[in-house]
Amino acid sequence: MPGLWERLRGGLTRTRQGLGDRIRGVFAGRQWSDDLWESLEEILYEADLGVDTVNFLLERTRAEVWNQRPRKAEAVVELLKRHMVELVRMNGDPRSLADHRPTVWMVVGVNGTGKTTTVGKMAYQMRERGFKVVLGAADTFRAAAQEQLSVWASRAGVEIIGQGYGADAAAVAFDTIRAASARQADLVIIDTAGRLHNKSQLMQELAKVHRVTGRALAGAPHQVWLVLDATTGQNGLLQAQVFLETVQVTGIVLTKLDGTAKGGVALAIARQLAIPVCWMGVGEGLDDLIPFDPEAYVEAILGGDLNA
């Protein structure tokens, strides 16, 4: 797919600015010395990895540095990088569908993270790959959420099913799956209303959507994507934990990586909750969603190109 890789590089190059330049400035061509630990710590903290994960990574790296006694500062960064990549290594392509037709994806998350936009991008890309996609407009709450998804549906060239505002979200999901089955669609993507994870009533409602989805089609939903804004700090961990408990999240979409935030809390989530990061959002266009690339991502945090 032409353009995609450039987009990734484009998005991440900007992400890299600041931290990347700094790490190059601090580490390139230098001998390793123990006072550099603090610089590494700072880079990790400023990427939102959080206390536990920063300690975890630095302890591992420290142990290796102790054993291997590397001379160059870059070598230490490489060791750290490997541990980070280890945390977020992915298996499989998030674009692959289940054996079932239709495969059902549900998209969830707190308010404003980029769910609807992500649904639009996913729909477009999966349709480009030759799949028949149907969208379920199960955000029946937020003002103009349906109009917004409609615009994305027409941009992506896919069908959208909804029941208007105030409708029961679970009923919309049910209808969408039934309609998609009848039309022999390959993929159903259900957009849901944003909700803060600490609102138990709204979370119960989401659990119901999840349940009813399974009732409409055994085995559904096949994927539950949690959309996480890369600017989110440590609260992301709580978000992921509650969404995991409520709707069995299967993977994370890390959005807005075209900004300067790194979304490092995703590493904490991967480590502590074992939820893989599967996609990254790098802009507001149809192409600006790409399968997660652990190496590129970790390089973006640490600056990359250290050997160049």
């Binding site: 404003g112 615009v151 600490n198 138990s200 009533q201 709580l238 807005k256 900004g259 300067t260």
Partner: protein, 447 residues
């Protein structure tokens, strides 16, 4: 998860105290806990570093070391420093001396600008002003429809003109404002990245054509370390006048508020805390300090309680408490008042140390409140007034009537006796503020 800073410090000092006399180094050690708490609250790494060096200066002073409860002293120093940094007094959105006032809402994508624009307009209206909303986001799909819907809900006109550029929209918007004799124009702008030069230039162009009296950066309370970079960058390209912190109804600690304040000195003027259009308020700097430290939003709680409580009933109750006549009947009345404060889980969140205590929160949910109420309702008035008459067979009847178990009834009675005992102890020692009794919370189910 034990994320209450005061508690953490206490255990840190307990460890240290075993060694005997506390030294300055000990305090410094304990301050590591403060560092963790601040980092976990998303305060920027560099801000934490600077902040702690200031705290350390004060905390290793003699008063802390000599104190019998150094942990409390340290917490106090940290809290004071935090409040000072946050700027003690709330700041308000200022109105132009010659109307119309122009207010721009700017910020990253999804921060809450559009929703907040509508909330702000509604708030201004409640204050007797005549706002006009301008939909100047021409990029996001259905952005106008979103604001138009919200405008209808709050009955505030929304100006938009399909095909016009954002600069044209504010120019036409101000004309419309004059024509409709409105006194405030609130401009909702498109979300943009601070590193997007074209879009940042567009904001500046809007502001130069139609100068804003307030240019408010809208920031999600859950924002992490990036808050500093984003705010600095916006501030260097636009003359920001303040910040709005959104989504405070979540359980993010909101360390971003501290980072922003420390780095730019900008005042946080408003806070939003819900999806409903009245969920906006003046930002209270001292409250965020407690929140960041995980000490609970006690002030909000008290205020909420005062709002929800029936003052006559409360005064009555206070008097009976004073005389040691607290009965289950009173208790039931209190429960009903507590219920008026909103979902218990939300109330609990405001209590110190409750954040992150998911399990406990689940146990003390509204269902337990409902069960407690059911038990109380199944008692006769006589039983509620004189719980001592409730014998075995009455307990069975009450349990059946309320759809609970005898154990639950027993537990409630036991907890009630404890509360009574406690009340007798505090009685006379202190009177609640403004007749507001320090009432216990509904009983927590055990186990």
């Amino acid at each position: 998860m034990f994320d209450n800073l005061a508690g953490k410090l206490e255990s840190a000092f307990r460890r240290l105290r075993k060694k005997g006399v506390l030294s300055a180094a000990d305090v410094r050690d304990a301050l590591r806990e403060v560092r963790m708490a601040l980092l976990e609250a998303d305060v920027n790494f560099k801000v934490v570093r600077e902040f702690l060096s200031k705290v350390e200066e004060r905390a290793v002073g003699q008063t802390v070391l000599a104190s019998l409860t150094p942990e409390q002293e340290v917490v106090r120093v940290v809290r004071d420093e935090l409040s000072e940094l946050m700027g003690g007094q709330p700041s308000r959105v200022t109105m132009a001396s010659h109307p119309p006032t122009v207010i721009y809402l700017v910020g990253l994508q999804g921060a809450g600008k559009t929703t907040t624009a509508a909330k702000l307009a509604a708030m201004l209206r409640r204050q007797g002003r005549q706002p006009l909303l301008v939909a100047a986001d021409v990029y996001r799909p259905a952005a106008y429809e979103q604001l138009a819907t919200l405008g209808r809900q709050i009955d505030v006109p929304v100006y938009y003109n399909p095909g016009a550029t954002p600069v044209e929209l504010v120019e036409q918007g101000i004309e419309r404002t004059h024509k409709l004799a409105r006194d405030v124009m609130v401009v909702d702008t498109a979300g943009r990245l601070h590193i997007d030069q074209a879009l940042m230039a567009e904001l500046l162009a809007m502001h130069s054509k139609v100068p804003g009296h307030e240019i408010l950066l809208t920031v999600d309370a859950a924002t992490g370390q990036d808050a500093v970079r984003v705010t600095q960058s916006f501030h260097s390209q636009l003359p920001l006048t303040g910040v709005i912190l959104t989504k405070l109804d979540g359980d993010a600690r909101g360390g971003a508020a501290l980072s922003i304040r420390a780095v730019t000195g900008l005042a946080i003027k408003l806070a939003t805390n819900g999806e409903k259009l009245d969920a906006i308020e003046t930002f209270q700097p001292d409250r965020i300090a407690s929140r960041i430290l995980g000490m609970g939003d006690v002030l909000s709680l008290i205020e909420k309680a005062e709002e929800a409580l029936d003052h006559d009933e409360t005064a009555d109750l206070a008097e009976r408490l004073e005389q040691g006549e607290f009965t289950l009947e009173d208790f039931r009345g209190m429960l009903q008042q507590v219920k008026r404060m909103g979902p218990l889980s939300k109330v609990m969140e405001m209590l110190p140390g409750m954040k992150g205590l998911g399990q406990l929160k689940d146990r003390v949910d509204d269902r337990s409140l409902v069960r407690t109420e059911a038990i109380l309702s199944s008692m006769t008035v006589g039983e509620r007034r004189r719980p001592s008459i409730i014998d075995g067979s009455r307990r069975l009847r009450i349990a059946r009537g309320s759809g609970t178990s005898v154990q639950e009834v027993n537990r409630l009675l036991k907890q009630f006796r404890e509360v009574q005992k406690m009340l007798r102890q505090v009685r006379g020692m202190r009177k609640g503020k403004r007749g507001f009794p320090k009432f216990p919370f509904p009983p927590m189910p055990e186990g």
